[in-house]
Symmetry: none
DNA sequence: CACCATAATACCAGAGTAATACCAACATAA
DNA sequence: TTATGTTGGTATTACTCTGGTATTATGGTG
């Protein structure tokens, strides 16, 4: 499956001073992100790409290698290069903090949220400890189901100081966007994750069998100055969601 | 991505009595702040900037050095100058995230290893695909149990090309240390995390009930030049181990 | 005078790119 | 099954472009 429109010389954006191999990487990764290139789809051969784009095959290969390292492309010797992924599985990076909504959008999936509860209350001792505030201070408790194309993917609890978000009804599609709009810019987060067997209530919400394995993620998100803006817990279905961590040597 | 219009002589604000290099610094940092120059974007070459702006290359370089010191620009010798951030994700330390021994020590627990099997064999088609080698080439298959204070925590499979590690008996406490001692320095890895319900065999090894939730981690580790040095799978008990990931905010 | 800013020029080291050749693996046709 | 064509994979040589460094020279300012 070749889509000639994707790989024409004008698509390489000659105005961009970046090296050609990088521009090709960008072209392909954006086509994959937008859904124009589907998982499992074959790319034109390296020789063909070189001709179509008016660049050297070495340059094409360098781009392909980068895409392979990013996990977007799979090379099959003698057969061709293919977009990675078969049975579509949602993957979220652990290197950057993405909001669920942005993540789904970048994949051409429709993100949805079903609110289970939203309340404003006084922080109990546990909550105060989590947020680094005094017991009794006002907090916002949010509980929601996250959907992808209408299918439940995760159930989430978020706890945030009322000083950051006064009214729980104020939250739009993205909690982080709401924070930013109010001048609170999430900068760093620490996540602890492990695996659990879901109880009956969660199983029902996620529409999976009781006892199914799920990823259990606790996250503390901070502003640049270290103040805690959110403490959350998310339970992601193990059968539909992967997390990816990129590791390197040194800084 | 880059708008040629950013770098024309009239953009240098000749009415400003500040030195030219400072005016160029201002021009670039404002373009970055406004979003006109995105993280990861390439700047025109120093020579091109000098011509476009009608100034000396020395002056351009002085501005670039200032921007580098401010952390806004990254220089890549032979490649170009790029806006900082963007594709440069927060990359966590390979040794930090994946040294089981160090991790256990930091938790005040004693790490141990029990070898289940070590063999040298010819790569089947799946293994060849994972390692990017030819089917039939020699590989080393390692299977072990990871212990904390004598209690099984994880079961792991590692697959590595025999060119990297000829004799499976050579592996010391740390597989990566063994690679390094042989001149193969792991530089980057990608890990996929998901949650599974363990089967009977794994449950027996980990001494947990069949169907218990566990973290299932697949990792591909590469050398600096992109060659794959290891493909592994680890199953960590969900009730006894959690992973920590620190996240930064992307652009 | 000392220091800074700027220009022009020269050269070096590293990365990017092109053209070419050949090999290994796979796909397809006969 | 064999033969052929196409694919990715590797290597070599060569060239260009990039940032990096250095030198000499001139002008402006305190």
């Amino acid at each position: 499956m070749t889509l000639p429109g994707i790989f024409s010389p004008d698509k390489l954006n000659r105005d961009d001073p970046a090296p050609a191999y990088r521009r090709l990487q960008t072209l392909v990764s954006e086509a994959i992100a937008s859904g124009e290139l589907k998982p499992g789809a074959a790319l034109p051969s390296e020789r063909e790409l070189a001709v179509q784009l008016g660049i050297s095959r070495v340059t094409v290969r360098k781009a392909i290698v980068g895409l392979v390292e990013d996990g977007l492309i799979v090379q099959r010797h003698g057969s061709g290069n293919y977009v990675a992924g078969g049975p579509e599985r949602l993957v979220q990076s652990l290197s950057q903090l993405y909001s669920f909504t942005e993540d789904m959008k970048s994949r051409g999936r429709e993100a949805g949220t079903r609110w289970l509860s939203r309340e404003r209350a006084q922080a109990n001792a546990d909550e105060a400890g989590l947020l680094g505030i005094a017991e009794g201070e006002m907090v916002i408790r949010l509980r929601r189901l996250r959907l992808a194309d209408g299918e439940p993917i995760a159930v989430e609890w978020s706890l945030t100081p009322a000083s950051v978000l006064a009214d729980p009804q104020d939250v739009g599609a993205s909690l982080y966007e709401t924070f930013r709009a109010r001048g609170y810019k999430p900068a760093r987060a620490v996540q602890h994750f492990t695996a659990i067997n879901v109880d009956a209530e969660t199983a029902k919400l996620l529409q999976i069998p009781v006892g199914s394995a799920a990823l259990d993620i606790h996250r503390i998100t901070r502003l640049e100055d270290g103040r805690i803006v959110e403490s959350s817990r998310s339970i992601f279905r193990g059968d539909a969601y992967d997390f990816v961590a990129e590791l390197g040597i040194g800084a």
